[in-house]
């Protein structure tokens, strides 16, 4: 059913229909169930345990934020899902199928796509080639026409990329590179998008644009989003729910609104109330 919806929503993007209908899709997506489920994930870097019993879930159509200080293990969670640093223990289910131990390319084929920290675009290649590489795993099997359709959808979502499609990616600005990185991930037609620090190194005003684009992604491409951010406030403002991580563990699971209200979170991650702590 989700697949049908996706096709429907892509068509919608093409015909630029009214926002109302994309809201309808969103509403439909909300009533479906769990997309990703992690249970007791333990991940090691050599002998160092980076994740201790991490259990999280992401529902279909949700935006979930993972926040926490440097070194809390947020990126490791994303890397454990995408298979870059496979977990040593635990359960990871994507639409009820285990993805534990699968290679990253298989996981991408199943519909999980990661936008890495620091964007990691292919700097010497053109914007167009970067996008095409995002669809590498289906390039041979599907005809170019379908790739072009996806690319058009991405261009209409990020018009600036269309203007620069023949430019060398390394010459783009930070914000444009971030859009390109997201666009490249979308080329694999993911149902779950993993975003790692999309605001990193961007000017505050560009950050704002990027976050509003991310929150629109769910409507336009019907993707579910798991976002890791140091800019906790911005992430929580677009997210439905959030997890707070600390030294490899999850210490809070709440709806975003409640996390924004939580004094501890405010002090630790939102930069509020820096007065001394009462003991």
């Amino acid at each position: 059913m989700t697949h049908a919806l996706k096709t429907y929503s892509l068509t919608l993007v093409h015909f630029r229909l009214f926002k109302l209908e994309s809201l309808l899709i969103q509403a439909l997506l909300y009533c479906t169930d769990v997309m990703l489920k992690l249970k007791n994930i333990n991940t090691y870097y050599g002998k160092i345990q980076a994740l201790k019993n991490v259990s999280i879930h992401v529902n279909d159509g949700e935006i979930v934020a993972l926040i926490g200080a440097n070194g809390a293990g947020k990126t490791t969670v994303l890397n454990s899902i995408s298979g870059i640093t496979p977990p040593d223990e635990g359960k990871a289910l994507f639409r009820d199928t285990s993805i534990l131990g699968l290679s990253p390319d298989k996981i991408v084929k199943m519909g999980i796509s990661q936008v890495p920290e620091g964007r990691q675009i292919f700097a010497p290649l053109t914007v167009l080639t970067n996008l095409e590489l995002g669809a590498y795993h289906r390039y041979r099997r599907k005809n170019r026409f379908s790739l072009k359709e996806d690319m058009d959808a991405i261009f209409s979502f990020f018009p600036i990329l269309k203007d620069r499609k023949n430019q060398i990616a390394g010459t783009l600005s930070g914000g444009e590179q971030q859009m390109l990185a997201i666009g490249r991930a979308l080329m694999s037609q993911p149902s779950l998008l993993l975003l790692d620090e999309p605001s990193m190194g961007l000017a505050p005003i560009i950050c704002k644009d990027i976050f509003s684009m991310i929150s629109n992604l769910r409507n336009e491409f019907s993707t579910t989003i798991l976002i890791v951010e140091q800019n906790a406030k911005a992430a929580l403002q677009i997210a439905d729910r959030g997890y707070v991580m600390e030294t490899g563990k999850v210490i809070l699971e709440e709806e975003s609104e409640n996390l924004l209200n939580n004094k501890e979170v405010q002090r630790a991650y939102l930069g509020k109330e820096k007065r001394e702590i009462w003991e």
């Binding site: 169930d33 769990v34 489920k37 249970k39 007791n40 333990n42 201790k52 019993n53 259990s55 999280i56 879930h57 997890y243 707070v244 600390e246 563990k249 999850v250 210490i251 809070l252 699971e253 709440e254 409640n258 209200n261 939580n262 004094k263 501890e264 702590i277 009462w278 003991e279």
Partner: protein, 447 residues
């Protein structure tokens, strides 16, 4: 059939279990980091929060008792600093020291939503006029329900407790549709109405939610028939949250526990071993979302059993049986918990009386009464009247102050009360023999 928060109350069990695991693990990580008491307990048993990988592992963790809470009076069990606490409440204390419980803003938010769930389950809607006759004060009952009722959009009348005739006049004039009280107070209201010559039928009462003390099915029937309302039970305790832990839906087949916020367990009260859910035993609660005052495996002292079968109302949560008895010797008098050990302690401190005593609990005019029979030393018993009366007054004052309920005291001759320290001899609860619950209680006491 209305449900306040369908997405959580009717969540498929599998999703609920995942959510419970996530919240349990994050709660354990937080208490281990922030509460010395738990860190010490876990360390003693060589348990780390990450050893808990499913709700089944929960039984490896130590139990928390009321006396643990007493020992960490006042703020020892808080998991956040006081600056983040926006509300303090307390429970009626066991041996003088009450337990202080705290709430962050989010905790109050959670509380509000949970009592809104209970009220909705009991049939209250935004069009209702809700009269709250619980005491507004240090106890949690009134405030919790108050927030929930306001959140629903109902019109709330915070009459607080007492002044029954005034309550009835308000009920009549303000066109109250919903009564929130203890079950015994509801019956007291009916009786007073009869004295005042007011026909309950002429009122607008529609539903009632009752809690704060055990009550039998017979009592429910009497309340429903005489007040012409739909009466449901709800349960909660201040140490865990206050009202909002569980409540009956209108099918009245057990109290739905809000499992997205609490994990219930049943243990054998004597051995502390976990029992399977259908078995009867002591209810143990672990909180999943509380920030200021999280509880890990708190022994409620209440005897019940759990039923995981789905309910006709559509909620997927487990249901607990109406609580009719205690695992310890705690008595509930006018909604206040009283332990015989408190009485014993007071008597120890007063010269001239032996700590041999008997508690006689009765219900007169719908209200609980507590009479304490105290043995006094021979010297005093045959001494002059004046001295005797002084002693009597002294005991009465000390007891009332300590227990928080008014007490009648009778001095009796030495050795007139059996020496046994067993519960049967120390406590005579005549309330039980008045109602059908006597049968249930009696059979329960057999084991």
């Amino acid at each position: 059939m209305n449900i306040w928060d369908e997405s959580y109350e009717c969540m498929p069990r599998e999703e609920l279990e995942q959510l419970q695991l996530e919240r349990l693990q994050s709660t354990l990580n937080r208490v281990y980091k922030n509460v010395k008491f738990y860190r010490k307990r876990f360390d003693e048993l060589n348990i780390l929060p990450e050893d808990i990988r499913s709700d089944k592992d929960l039984s490896d963790l130590p139990l928390t008792t009321k006396s643990d809470l007493r020992d960490s009076y006042p703020y020892g069990m808080f998991a956040v600093s006081l600056r983040e606490v926006v509300r303090l409440h307390s429970t009626s204390g066991m041996t003088g020291k009450p337990t202080v419980v705290g709430y962050t803003r989010n905790d109050l938010n959670t509380w509000t939503n949970l009592t809104a769930r209970i009220l909705t389950a009991g049939g209250v809607t935004k069009d209702d006029v809700v009269q709250i006759t619980f005491a507004y004060g240090m106890l949690t009952g009134a405030f919790g329900l108050h927030y929930g009722a306001e959140k629903l959009g109902a019109s709330v009348i915070p009459t607080s407790s007492g002044h029954t005739e005034k309550q009835i006049n308000i009920m009549k004039d303000y066109k109250t549709t919903t009564l929130l009280s203890t079950p015994s107070y509801a019956l007291r209201i009916v009786d007073t109405m009869a004295d005042m010559g007011i026909d309950p039928k002429s009122l607008n009462l529609r539903v009632g939610l009752f809690g704060g003390e055990p009550w039998s099915e017979n009592m429910r029937k009497e309340i429903e028939e005489r007040l012409y309302i739909d009466a449901t039970d709800n349960y909660g305790l201040s140490e865990v949250l206050g009202p909002g832990l569980s409540g009956e839906c209108r099918f009245k087949c057990g109290l739905h526990i809000f499992e997205d916020h609490f994990i219930p367990e049943i243990i054998d009260p004597t051995t502390g071993r976990s029992l399977s859910s259908g078995e009867k035993g002591e209810l143990v609660i672990t909180t999943l979302t509380k920030e200021a005052f999280p509880m890990v495996r708190f022994r409620t002292g209440d005897i019940t059993s759990l039923d995981f079968h789905s309910c006709k109302c559509g909620r997927t949560s487990v249901r607990m049986k109406k609580v009719m008895e205690r695992a310890d010797d705690m008595l509930i008098i006018k909604g206040v918990s009283v332990f015989p050990s408190q009485v014993e302690q007071v008597l120890y401190e007063i010269k001239g009386c032996e700590p041999h005593f008997q508690l006689v609990v009765d219900r007169k005019d719908r209200m609980d009464t507590l009479e304490v029979l105290v043995e006094v030393s021979e010297g005093i018993f045959f001494d002059e009247m004046k001295k005797q009366r002084q002693l009597l007054e002294n005991i009465k004052r000390s007891l009332s102050r300590k227990l928080g309920v008014s007490v009648d005291v009778k001095l009796v001759e030495p050795k007139s009360i059996g020496m046994g320290s067993k519960r049967e001899k120390r406590i005579i609860d005549k309330r039980v023999t008045h109602s059908e619950s006597a049968i249930e209680l009696g059979s329960a006491n057999d084991h």
